[in-house]
């Protein structure tokens, strides 16, 4: 056959493969999640007031020594309510310290939310302005970071945590971090 006959067919097949690959790659529910440039780098320094005791400030260095999970949430965030039971179940295993990061929220609303649904956090930091969250590259809630004992960001998840993500991604990494020490 002449090339002019099969060339359009080949071009079409190539395009079809390209499209199929695009559809295949976009099947993941978290396809819009941005990779964090912080991974493997020291966590940005912060000093934030404690939600339950605004006179008291917690700094990043106060959390050094053991890994911790930083969970960004807000009382205005619908997905955070979906995530809440999962996070509570994980926090109760006491495997890793779970620190709450209350983002762009009125402290009164945040306190009421925790009272209503329960408080899974070891401590909740309050960032009403959201200025510190910019340093962490936070762009939505919920977002969850895993920071190791040396203060290095090891993992980030955008969107609500699920049992599956905790079992498949978070726990193996925690085990790995513990083995490094």
């Amino acid at each position: 056959m002449k090339p002019s006959r099969w060339l359009p067919l080949a071009a079409f097949a190539l395009l079809a493969v390209l499209l199929a690959a695009g559809v295949w790659m976009s099947r993941k529910p978290d396809r819009d999640a941005l990779p964090s440039p912080l991974l493997g780098k020291p966590a940005p320094e912060f000093a934030l007031p404690v939600l339950h005791d605004p006179g008291y400030t917690v700094k990043l260095s106060d959390l050094r020594g053991q890994p911790f999970l930083l969970n960004v949430w807000g009382s205005w965030c619908v997905e955070c309510r979906v995530e809440h039971p999962v996070l509570t179940k994980f926090a109760e295993t006491k495997r890793v310290r779970v620190v709450g990061y209350n983002w762009k929220d009125e402290p009164a609303d945040a306190l009421r939310w925790l009272e209503q649904f329960g408080n899974p956090f070891m401590v909740v930091l309050s960032d009403v302005e959201g200025r510190t969250a910019l340093d962490w590259g936070v762009y939505g809630a919920p977002e969850t970071f895993l920071v190791d004992g040396k203060g290095i960001v090891r993992w980030k998840h955008v969107g609500p945590l699920t049992d599956e993500i905790i079992a498949k991604e978070l726990l193996p990494l925690v085990t790995k971090i513990e083995a490094e020490r």
Binding site: P37, D135, Y139
Partner: protein, 146 residues
């Protein structure tokens, strides 16, 4: 029927869409026309991290609102455009730039279109040359139905 229409118009109204967003309490104030022009030019080159097919200038997302303020703050601190872009890239990654830097990972983005264009030009050239080549029938079967 009327109530259904009213309900629909309510749902479609911009006021409803804004209900779950915080209203911008204080719109940005510019000191000069030059500052405003520079701000708009810069925010058009930056991508909103939340609504990922809008620029920072276009987006109404809460985070875009805050990042616009941040950009204006940085401008007033005397930072140049490159420094402001670097600031955002450090926090949100290369994704925030509509024009990614020329690096190994973005090489295909930069030269890909040129390669495709050249390949297309090559195909066209090959076809034209074959039609002109001596020995070929004056009326090739390629163009017959036209």
């Amino acid at each position: 029927m009327l109530s259904a229409c009213l309900l629909l118009s309510f749902i479609a109204s911009p006021a409803f869409a804004q209900a779950n967003q915080q209203a911008d309490a204080a719109p940005l104030q510019f000191n000069s026309a030059a500052e405003e022009a520079r701000f708009h030019a810069l925010t058009l080159q930056l991508r909103c991290v939340m609504c990922q097919n809008q620029s920072l200038a276009d987006s109404n997302a809460l985070i875009a609102l805050q990042l616009r303020r941040e950009v204006l703050d940085l401008m007033r601190q005397g930072k140049n455009d490159e420094q402001i872009k670097d600031y955002l890239v450090q926090r949100y990654g290369e994704f925030v730039l509509y024009k990614p830097k020329l690096e190994g990972g973005t090489l295909l983005l930069w030269i890909g279109p040129a390669v495709v264009l050249l390949a297309g030009a090559g195909v066209v050239a090959a076809i034209v040359r074959r039609r002109k080549s001596p020995g070929a029938p004056a009326n090739g079967d390629d163009g017959q139905e036209w």
